[in-house]
Structures are given as C-alpha cells and as structure tokens.
Amino acid sequence: MRLSASHSGTQDLSIESKLPMRLLLVEDDLSIQRFVERALVEAGFQVDASADAKSAEALAVEGIHDAFIIDLGLPDMDGLDLIARCRAHGSAAPVLILSARRSVDERVKGLEQGGDDYLTKPFALAELLARLRNLLRRSSTSQKEPLRLEVADLQVDLIAREAKRGDRILQLTPQEFSLLEYLCRNAGRVVTRTMILDHVWHMRFDPATNVVDVHIYRLRSKVDEDDRQPLIHTIRGVGYVLKHA
C-alpha cells in the first residue's frame, strides 16, 4: 500500500493549528476498527477509538475532536441516535457515517444535507480519507479557492481552464480538464474510480467496466506524452494518483 502518499495531504490541513487533528472513531467491528484506526494514524491523525455508543458519548462530550467517524450499527445504540446525543451536548464536529446498508435512509440523507457525509461498506481507505478531509475542510475556516494548481511542471489555470505541462499547452476536452483538475486538487492522494465518477461526472455508482480508466489513459497520453516524468500513476487495486514521483 502506498497510503503514506497521503501524509502530505494531512499536513495541509494541520497548517493552521500545527497540531494533528483528533478524530473519534466509533466502530463495533474490531477488525474494521483496527485497520481504519491504523490508516488514520498513518495519515497523520490522532485517533480515539471506541466500540460502543456509551463510551463514545463519554469521549465526545469532552469536545476535543475535530470529526467523528461513526458506524450506524452499534450494539447498544443506533449510530444516528448517538449523533443526535453528541449534537445535544453541543458538539459541532462533522460526522462521517459508516453504513453497511446499501440504500441510505432518509435520516442519513438529512444529515448529509446538514454537512455530514456517509460511506457505505465496503469502502476504499482512499475514499474514507478523501471524504474525511472534505468534511474537515468544510468545517474549518473556508480556505481561499486557489486560482491555479501546480504539480511539478504541470500548471492548471482554473480561471482560463487551461493546462500546461512546462511550456506545452495541453489540448484537453472539458471532461479531461475536469478530470485533471480533480487529480491535481488531490495531488499526492490516491483517488478511486468511484470517487472520480462522483466528483467529475457527479454520478455515484461502481462501474463494472474500464469506462473511467479509458478517460485516464487518454488524459495520461496528453499529460505524460513524452514521459520524461510521468505524473499520473496507477495504484493497482485502488485507483490513481497524480504526483511528482
């Protein structure tokens, strides 16, 4: 796994506080709890893990967490009730809901609209981290929207919607530009095919074919044309990452 690649991402977030962000993870399945905790720690977060709602609530009232990751199916309480209780205690930290259920019920949809997010099992760690960062970014003081993104000698001008590799202007279709923009915004972090579909085409489904890959190949053939230094890398079994090797 090349999850270490995402360290840089967390550092961005911790610039203001200079402290690692602290998360509360509530998951009763210990095997899941263990790997999620390890992934979060590797990504630079400080994690408090809890396997039941009661101890989680005790931790949550301390008000020291920047975000909660809560599984819906807890042994002693419904995850949504736990969220409601945390909110009642005055905690405003955003929540990432984990659910084993495929179809998301109305209450979760309501939370989603309220600024929280959900993820259905099984999930890719890359997606968990991406959604978590999104939540944290939204809840922290709004960062200034960058006007241009730069990775190595790749420059993406978000205003003119133009991309350059060194001096060479890349001839991109609007779809390819959006894809490149998404990869650049997540430079150094692995993104899955599902995440790409979600953010570039605004569709949430798992493609059974290479439909996303073909777009990546086309974009790569333009960005890494003479492959002096390829920027778009395939992480087998996970997805893609744009980074300066």
Binding site: R102, S103, E106, M203, D206, A208, N210
Partner: protein, 476 residues
Amino acid sequence: MPENLRTTAAWRIALWTTLAFSAGTFVAFSIVYLLMAQEIWARSDAWLTGEARVLAQVAKNTPQDNLYDKIVEEVAELAMHEVPDERSSGGERLNYVFFLRVNHSPTEDILFVGPSSKDAFWRAIQQAHFAEGSPKSIRVEGWQPAFRVVEQVQEGSPIYLGLSERGAQHVLHTLTNRFLLVWTGTVFLGFLISYLSTRRTLRRVERITETVARIGSEGLDERLPEPAGSDEISRLAKTFNHMLERIQASVKQLRSVTDGVAHDLKSPVTSIRGTLESALSAENGEHWRDSVAQAIEGLDRMSALLNTVLDVTEAKAGALPMERVPVDLSAVVTQLVHLYLPAMAEKQHEVKTDLESGVVVEADLGLMNRTLSNLLENELIHLPPGCTIDIRLRSHDGHAELVIGDNGPGFPPEIGSRVFERFVKGKHSPGNGLGLAFVDAVAQAHGGTVTISAGLREGATVTLSLPVAEITPARG
C-alpha cells in the same frame, strides 16, 4: 374422518339447517292447523244452525196433535243421522247429537232426543245464556268434551240442537298426530341428507387441505385436481393452483438467485484465496504487491455484485428509496454518452446518437444514472469490437423513449424472454446477469417499461420507456 363427529363443520351445518328447517315447518303447520280448526268449527256451526232451523220449521208446521212429539222426534232422529257417523279406529262413536225442545203450552213439556237421559242436558241448557241462532259451547255434566249448542226459538218454544265437539277434536288430534309423525321423519331425513351432502362437499375441502399439506411438506410440483364446473370449491382449487404456480415460480427464481450469488461469489473467493495463498509462499515483494492488488480487485467485483444483488432485490420488492424530481433525461443521456464514448471508441464501436432535447421525466437521478449506465455497460461488455451502437431519445404520447440498439450478435436465443430475470444470462456472457433485471425493476418503480427486441439488422435493441414529467423543471 375426524374422530369427533361433533367438531366437524358438516355436523354443525346439518344441525343448524335442520333446526331452521324444523322451526319453519312447525310454524307452517301451526298456521295450517289454525286455519283447519277454524274451518271445522265453522262447518259444524253451519250444520247446527241450518239443522236447528229445519227442525223449528218442522215443529211449527206439524199439527199439535198426539203425534206431534212422535213426528218431531222422528225428524230429529233423521237429522242426527245426517251427521256423518264417524267412528274412531276403536269403534267408539264420535258424533253425539242431542235435540231438546221445550214446550211451554199447554204444560211444561220437554221433548228430548239424545244419547242419554235429558236431565244433564236440560240443566246445562238452563244455566247457559243463548243468543238465538249463534252456536255456543256448553259443558254437560258427565260428557267430555263440551257440546256445541244452538238455540232456535219457535213460537215461544225454544229448540236446542247440540253436537259433541269430540268429532272436530278428533279430526284435529289426528291431524296433529300425523303431522308430528311426518314432521319427525322429515326432520330426521332432512338432517341426514343435509349432513351427508355437506360432508360430501366438505370432503372436497378436506382433500384440498390434505393435498396442500402434502405440498407444503414435500414439494411444489403437485397440483390440486381441478373439478369441472365453477362452484366455490372448484374455484378454491383453481385459486390454490394459481397460487402454487406463482410460489413455485418465485421459489425457482429465488433458487436461481441463490445459485447465482453462490456461483458468482464462490469463484472470486476461490481466486482471491488462491492469490493470497501464493503470495504468502512467495519471497518476492513485487509478487506480493501484485497479489494483494489482484485480491482487492476481486473483492471489489464481489462487493459490486453484492450491491447489485441487493439493489435488484430491493427494487423488485419495491423498497428502493427514491426521491423523484424532474430529471432532464436528454442531459443525463448526453452526459453518460460522453462518459462512455472513449471506452466505446477503445473497442472500435461507432456510436450514433439522435437525442431529442428537453425530455423531462420525474425520476430519482441517482437511479436513472445507474440504470442508463447499466445499459451502456451492457453494450461495452457484450459487443464484439467494431459494432455500431445507435442511441435514440424521443418523447411521444406522454412517454420518453430511449432506444439503444446495436448490430452485435443479439440476445442468446436460450434466454428468450427471461432476460429481465435475475442471474439469467447467456452461456458465454461475461456479465453477472443482473444488469437488465435492475433496469427492469427501476423502470417499473418509475411506472415505465423496458423491452427488448432483435434489431433490424440482427443485433439487440433495448427500449426504455418512462412517463414524461407533467411539470417542466425550473432549469433545464
């Protein structure tokens, strides 16, 4: 036959029918009895008054000589014999009649013709008050039952004619006795017939029960015998058979679903296990990485399959959470075509589109995306390279019609009309047999349909038809 007769429905039904029947016939008999009694009394009264008038006339017209009494007595005797000489089976005389004439002049003289001495009769007559010409029942000492007596006054001399009520009572008694006999017999016979016929009918129900019980425990192949005709029980049998047909179909489908899931999950599990096992015994780090990646890919396919199975099951059960909003189908299709074009081009497919713009349906956007992408993925998965794919969107007659046709090999003939069932796929199909089942379920959930047909130049055509939205969206 159940051990306790009284707990059977046949017994209860027969009992109640018989009760109702016997009560009814009893009421009917009572009415007939009353009418008959009335008639009998009226007849005997009519005879009495008529006869008394005749006797009075005779008494009046006969000269008052020495033979007077003799003649009147003679006439009275004759009149009495007009009464039918009914006798009971024992030979007992029933119709006792008496005649009594009181002659006040010149002396108090009583002429009596009757079954015994006049004293008891005379006493009874003296105690009673008569209205002339209307018969009255009086008790005569030593006689049972009462006598019906009429008074006819002739020149101050009253004539009394009496008839014992025994005759009339005997007729009524006989009537009652015979009725009771016939009634008991009829009631018993009625009960027997009603019980037997009900039991016969309910035996058929019992047979249905037995067969259904057997079907429940053994297998769904058996069917109830369907008797000709269309009475309630035949209909019950037919309804049961229809139900069994449907249950068998869904069990068969369920079995194919479980078989499908088992098959489609077992192969990736086997391959993942094998891959990881070989990684364990490998020394090479690069080989490890490769194996783990392969395992993750296999797991992703498995989880996609699980999700699709759950989705299709939910959709089939009508339990898909849906948020229906006006969706610009033209825009959605255009976007999806753009998404899939590069992948299609990769396989040298030629894609022709003819999309009417501004076709709006009321639908769940997420489900629409997945449904349409399913159709396009189908083309990617099933077509050999170098085909032509035709995508047309039209709205007519209140329906949005999306037609995706190709000139590929078409649907395998062996699956026929079952393409929309879960896990039904061609022998060599690389898909999971769930795509069209999902499309069908979503289309139905939106009040639409999806149909397939062989294209003009062979190939396959899928037509998705959805009702267009009644309101247009605020923004296209």
